[in-house]
Symmetry: D2
Subunit: 339 residues, 4 copies
């Protein structure tokens, strides 16, 4: 059985699972006060080049986005995001459920434009009716974006500069960060840590059974554990995430996982091209969006799980092929055979 | 290293972990639509004697309580609970964060009294100012309670009868249900399913790495998946809970775990008695509350992790000793030696 | 002193104030159970042609929108509105504070387009990921819109048809409804009542000291008084709104107020044209949007309060001139003189 | 027609109404930026002896309590209040709807005890599990209480001292403050302003059509107008409250109203005593709680509106007689005649 439906179709990377087995019967305190979480935190902060920062582990992306944004925003503030931002489209209103309005910006291949961000923010703050409006308090970027694209270092710096200029916090959703770091890019963890007020390093889609590592490189929101608890996100067995991230940040596993996803995606792109399947967008990470004629799509979906994306016209369907650490040569050969 | 601090100090029961390994590389759809979750659901509903019910997996108890209660309550309703109820005391205001006020009742060894429940509800609903008050919409019971005590079948039936009389939903928090089912009791899963509108079968404290199985024996709230997602509780790798509960409900493992916890707790009680340590309360499950002289407590805590509970007077401390599936003979012998 | 800044610059229409004086010392029950509220309700329902409906009085527009929308929506639903909708732009995130995400549609002179509404709704509901999205549960229209424009009867019928087709509720914000009903239009109260699930008849901007009359022509949300109370919107002296709306719906006062606003706005438009001031948009109600050269604007604002709207280019400013029941001939003559 | 049902049965004190008439056609900016609100603010701050403080006008008590408390609390905090506190019992869960859990203390004739407050707070903050609990962030007192009783200056000072000791804010609900200030008491506005972080001077129950004046004697929460707006409590015609409070704080009207209520209550108490009706509690303000035999109650309620309070036993009913600025001699004579 093979799949390209998403990057969370299998369990955990074998080395993660092995570490869970090895540590299984070592008793530890709960709620993240275990030695594995402590070790993982230290390794992550070292990788980010911000040893004075703080790391918290939550279980999933939507939860993480909502809880962190709620902690970053004042009651009169909202968060700026791209029209296509995950928090705006695919989180069932979770940010709004914690009171955070999303101020939508146009998207450019999933990214926001620093100049448009400056224009929106400047206009809002200069509005004579601003007391009747939602203040822009934070900016949300996803990296890779929902389209698999990446910001350049220059773009992130420009966005960060607008944030500092207007007193907004910058938050980066790194659900698929492993694949973003492994692509051709000048954006690495230390750069992200130097530019963002908070970000998360995704585990669920990058080799863990579950778990996202939230990093506050400089300032942690007050009473953040209480905050996590209040929103139902504090795990009794905090060790579950701690052990996994400890494994992911040992011997470069997180980066190895990213490279595997990116390499298999590049090979997948070649296979698609060879079979005359055009890409909807050129993306450097582990998600590839292909345009299939409707009939071909209908036939193919019977044999290979893919992600439905949209129907741009009655004759075509855009589908997402996602690769991951578990995408073997066999997966690619089977796809090649079936196309 | 030994511990009696709580029942979530180690990882997963070995058979649970083994099942995670075996299934690790079998690709499956996300969000609970995997074959393992389906199998687990079927087994759970069979064990509960309600094949027409529905099961959802969430990651932790506080999250589960908040999400399920929010789904059970109308906007003008609150939930009745004991003063000592976990939702009232130890969930950092999570129910209130979803808008649910808690209407507190006196506690009797952690339990609510059906007559007091009827009195509160009847008085509230008869109040001429009820439109200015919070309606009692649901009743929360924990079983075992926070004190490790259990309701009798008769008590649960009486509470359920009051709920039906006044149109309230009955919700049971089974964070430690395995230990409750393994004790001397006439309360089993089919009885709980027949009396409650919703309840959860705890995994985190009963052998899983994480996960709670919410059961709606008869009526599921509309769009419950969307509801879970909105509150950040939907796991991309739903299989993580599915596989674990499949293992827990295969070959009676969940009940075996419960028995181990209860048996070791009984032996622990004997050891305490032999050393002249009185119990604060007689409890039939895996939590034992002992009264230690302050000095003895201070000395002992250096050697064995226990749970601090309260200081009833300046000379004594109440501590909780929790056993679990991982409490070996060695743990008990070491305690015996140290007392 | 004159003003065109808005339509809530003075107190109440003299006949409203007189009625408050006449009834002042007649004791009545609180919370809307007074005889004046009862009389007002009856008159409003008669004017709307829905004698079986229900009417509730709240104090202000933002409060009314938030409370009514929250009562109309299920927890997994949001509300569709124009990009320029008051709830989306100028209510400081009040709908989101009650958990309601706004699904924004393009605006056409402040209005939404029925075809675009159908497209958005149809696409959302057909999306395979809809459980991860916010369902469209209600549609918000303002009439007059924030730009002073009006829907035609045909447009409202088309929007209502889409709502029925997809099970959405239609809600109309009538903050300035008096002026909308007095313009050239085929939309009257009975038509609105027949097409909408809820709407409000604005008082604050149409002659009252405060107060908005929410009408549910057919089905009232359960426990709506409790709902109002929970959101801090239930007035102890419900009579305050009751007496005022009783006066507004006696001898056609509400319509007379609307006509005064529309007539003075028409004369204002003539004055602007005579002085070579172009209108930004042709609007049939009591708000006129004029384009002033920057210098002229700076000079004029010293003498006459107007509403700042936007700076479309560095040389021009768009301002709003609002008329109301208190706009006398003297106001217009003074403006004529000053231009 | 007479009534003792409550203190909001009639409209406004004639001098308040007169001031509304006099100012009716003077145009002013909206949202509290009018000259009347400015004048009222200045007079209130002078009366409170805190000229550097800030005043905001909201429309009703429940709204005021919820909005102010939400602004005073951090996300991880709740508010301590008496079991009988209005926010805990009669506000339909409004504080919880804004996320604020209420930590209930025992009540002593409606009041909290400083020693019990210290014990609760000290215990909570010393609890090893405090990160899983709701922190005590503010203390709510009502003065007069829901039972018409008053704190002494010494009691308020002791409560304030506990608040300072533990970093909690002190908030006083003065819905009926006029009557509290007019009774035999050493608590005046300057004392309240010196001890509280926020309090409100009630208008609705003390002579206004609506309106409560929130006073922050020292520090105003950031962006409080935006906060008010977000919770639907910002009035377009802010002048409505401004004019009324300007009148109430001109020539001592607010205090005159209070004295009238207290004096008539004292005479009412005498009348009850003369007719052998015992009081449930001895209260110094405008609310008197009497114990009536059931039959007498049933007969009397046909003729005079009173407030039902409770049925302490099958043979008796406790009723509330409330006086107010509009309680004339005729009211008292009629009651005397009917008893």
């Amino acid at each position: 059985m093979i799949t390209f439906e998403n990057d969370y179709s299998c369990g955990a990377h074998p080395r993660v699972l092995q570490r869970l087995s090895e540590t299984n019967l070592i008793p530890q305190p709960g709620y993240g006060f275990d030695c594995f979480s402590a070790a993982a935190r230290e390794k992550i902060l070292a990788a980010c080049g911000c040893p004075g920062g703080a790391v918290y582990f939550l279980t999933g992306g939507t939860q993480t986005n909502a809880v962190v944004l709620a902690s970053l925003l004042k009651p009169w503030e909202g968060v700026v995001a791209a029209q296509t931002g995950h928090i705006h489209v695919h989180e069932a209103g979770a940010p709004e459920a914690l009171g955070a309005k999303i101020l939508a910006l146009p998207e450019h291949q999933g990214k926001i434009d620093p100049a448009e961000l400056r224009a929106l923010t400047g206009t809002l703050l200069a509005d004579e009716n601003v007391e009747h409006m939602v203040y822009p308090g934070a900016v949300y970027v996803s990296h890779p974006t929902e389209w698999g694209t990446l910001y350049t270092g220059e773009e992130l710096e420009a966005i960060s500069a607008v944030c500092r200029e207007y007193g907004m916090r910058l938050y980066l959703d790194g659900a698929r960060l492993a694949y973003g770091l492994a692509a051709e890019t000048d954006v690495d963890l230390p750069l992200i840590a130097s530019l963002c007020d908070a970000f998360y390093i995704g585990g669920t889609k990058c080799g863990a059974l579950c778990g996202e590592a939230v990093v506050f490189p400089r300032r942690t929101p007050e009473h953040f554990i209480n905050f996590i608890k209040k929103h139902g996100a504090l795990m009794a067995k905090g060790r579950l995430c701690g052990v996994q991230f400890d494994a992911l940040f040992t011997d470069g596993l997180y980066f190895e996982i990213g490279r595997r996803g990116v390499e298999t995606a590049a090979r997948l792109k070649t296979i698609l091209a060879r079979h005359g399947v055009p890409c909807f967008m050129d993306t450097p990470t582990n998600q590839q969006f292909a345009i299939l004629e409707r009939e071909r799509y209908e036939a193919l979906r019977e044999k290979i799980p893919m992600g439905f994306w949209s129907n741009p016209d009655p004759a075509h369907t855009v589908v997402r092929f996602a690769t991951a650490w578990y995408t073997t040569d066999e997966y690619l050969e089977e796809l090649d055979r079936l196309l």
